[in-house]
């Protein structure tokens, strides 16, 4: 890297200041606050707080609701990630086969990415709405009842689809780029080597895509775990009966709706640890370049 020399001692700091200030105000300070809060308990009126040590954390592990939220998050995250990636890969493979119309399809398929998560949530809320939505109506015509307002499984399916939808575009773009960087001669060589289209896909294309796949896996996991707040908030609000109350949403509910700041802070510290762990894993692996 090129080393720039500054004669003024303060100039480099000044240039870095905007970034540092934003990070400090919006990340470091709240994070520090959360850690501090997680060791405190406030009284009902928010007048006094008392140091309680690890009591908030201990309460979390004892809470069946919190453990349920963990389970819900796991199901939700894995479903969103798998649905997003499988669908994105299918689309990418289909588009990669096209010669002339490829650009048109690619453009159309990235549109959902431009829709804000909350808007996407509302959109799906309308589609899935048990009384006015088109989908439950269509399903009822073929004898399937779909009502996420009281059915836990339906609710989960609903938020998974709503969350995955806007995310497919992003993964799709990366998969298309990944597929196009595989030299055509490799697939031709495999074709001459007697591998049919399916075998070619699993033994040549997929392994060569593995760096892209791994990158998307981590990015999508992080998205599903931490950035789906808006979707949940615009649709199920964590219900029915906690069935879609993922960890991020529970932090908000317990803290800002339930006013249990200590517990909420402890939950966000747990989330922070998970994010850090995921990031470390990602960097470790990406440096190793997966597979080849």
């Amino acid at each position: 890297m090129k080393r720039a020399l500054f004669h003024n001692k303060f100039l480099p700091w000044l240039l870095l200041a905007p970034q540092l200030i934003v990070t400090a105000i919006f990340f470091l300070w709240p994070a520090a606050q959360a850690i501090r809060q997680s060791f405190l308990r406030e009284d009902a009126f928010g007048l006094r707080s008392q140091f309680v040590g690890l009591a908030n954390y201990r309460a979390l592990w004892g809470s069946s609701e919190y453990l349920n939220s963990f389970k819900v998050t796991l199901i939700f995250t894995v479903s969103v990630t798998v649905l997003t990636m499988v669908f994105a890969l299918l689309m990418a493979v289909a588009v990669d086969r096209l010669v002339r119309s490829e650009k048109v399809y690619t453009t159309l398929l990235i549109w959902p990415y431009a829709v804000a998560p909350a808007v996407a949530g509302v959109l799906w809320w309308f589609i899935f709405n048990p009384s006015i939505g088109i989908l439950p109506y269509v399903l009822s015509q073929i004898g399937i009842s779909f009502n996420w307002i009281y059915d836990k499984t339906d609710a989960m399916i609903f938020v998974v689809i709503a969350s995955a939808w806007s995310r497919i575009s992003y993964s799709f773009l990366f998969f298309v780029a990944g597929l196009q960087s595989i030299p055509g001669s490799l697939r031709e060589a495999a074709a001459i080597d007697g591998a049919g289209p399916v075998k070619r896909f699993f033994t040549i294309t997929l392994p060569l895509l593995s760096p892209t796949t791994f990158f998307l896996l981590v990015v999508n996991l992080v998205y599903a775990m931490f950035e789906t707040f808006a979707v949940i908030d615009a649709t199920t609000l964590g219900g029915p009966a906690q069935s879609t109350n993922i960890l991020v949403y529970k932090v908000y509910q317990d803290g800002f709706v339930g006013q249990n700041l200590g517990s909420s802070a402890a939950q966000s510290v747990v989330l922070m640890v998970i994010v850090i762990a995921l990031t470390v894993i990602q960097f470790r692996f990406i440096e190793k370049r997966v597979a080849y």
Partner: protein
Amino acid sequence: MAQITIDKLGKVYTGGTHAVEDINIDIADGEFIVLVGPSGCGKSTLLRMVAGLESITEGTVSIGGRVVNDVEPAERDIAMVFQNYALYPHMTVRQNLAYGLKNRGTSKPEIERRVAEAAEILQIGAFLDRKPRALSGGQRQRVAMGRAIVREPAAFLFDEPLSNLDAKLRITMRLEIKELQKRLGTTSIYVTHDQLEAMTLADRLVVLNKGRVEQIGSPLEVYRKPASAFVAGFIGSPAMNLIQARAVPHLPGTGHAGLIGIRPEDLHPATDGQIEMKVDAVEELGATRLVHGNIGGENVTVTLPADADLPESLRLAVAPGALHLFHAETGARIA
């Protein structure tokens, strides 16, 4: 082992442009055929049509007496060596060699035997467990060859396999390919734009230009009796001088030809020579020197011994038998 027959083969793209047109080649069992021509002449398209990677729109390709127009590449019993080698980067050399055999359900001991044999022939045994990125260009080239020979196919197809190698390695590999092909006796089609590579490798050359065959023949035939002005200018290095007949009005035996071809080595200095050349530039090659000059307004190159005198103008003579005469418009050979 098989003979390959290419009959009235053509490729038309939607829109009507012909990539190749009316190609007829009979390739004998065990023959080494080189397709040569400038870039864009359709030689790679032709090879890919034989391989089955490009669809055939006119005529037929037969391998071993069977028309293969609608046969999948895998079922044509051919192996191909690509310009960029196309080694599978996520597999070791051993897996690269075994991949085609595995797909065909060859038994494990048989795969091991053939891989070991190919590794022995190509001297790549030492890096069977490495991945392609850990190999040099020449080693990758050998692995690509190995992948072709383990399959023991009816024919080898080579698509400019040496053009990514440096000049020195290219000459060594050229010899090895020739030797290997002779030893295995496998029918081969080899595509190159390098006329020297074509001359040294081929049993027979197919010179292509703008999607059409200009000439088919042994390297010496093509060199001695080029069928057209195009072939004359393409085969041979330094290239044959092609000059308008009116630039040398005093030369006997030119008849009604519009274009006269003279190889640089067929022009000799002679005190009573009918041709006068003004010398513009000289390139020293060590054993010989190339003299570039001008005869009646046409650029001409002459190969002279390195110890010859170099006056500002040379008088040159040419033996009548060494003249190549071509039609002015069509470029076809007259005599």
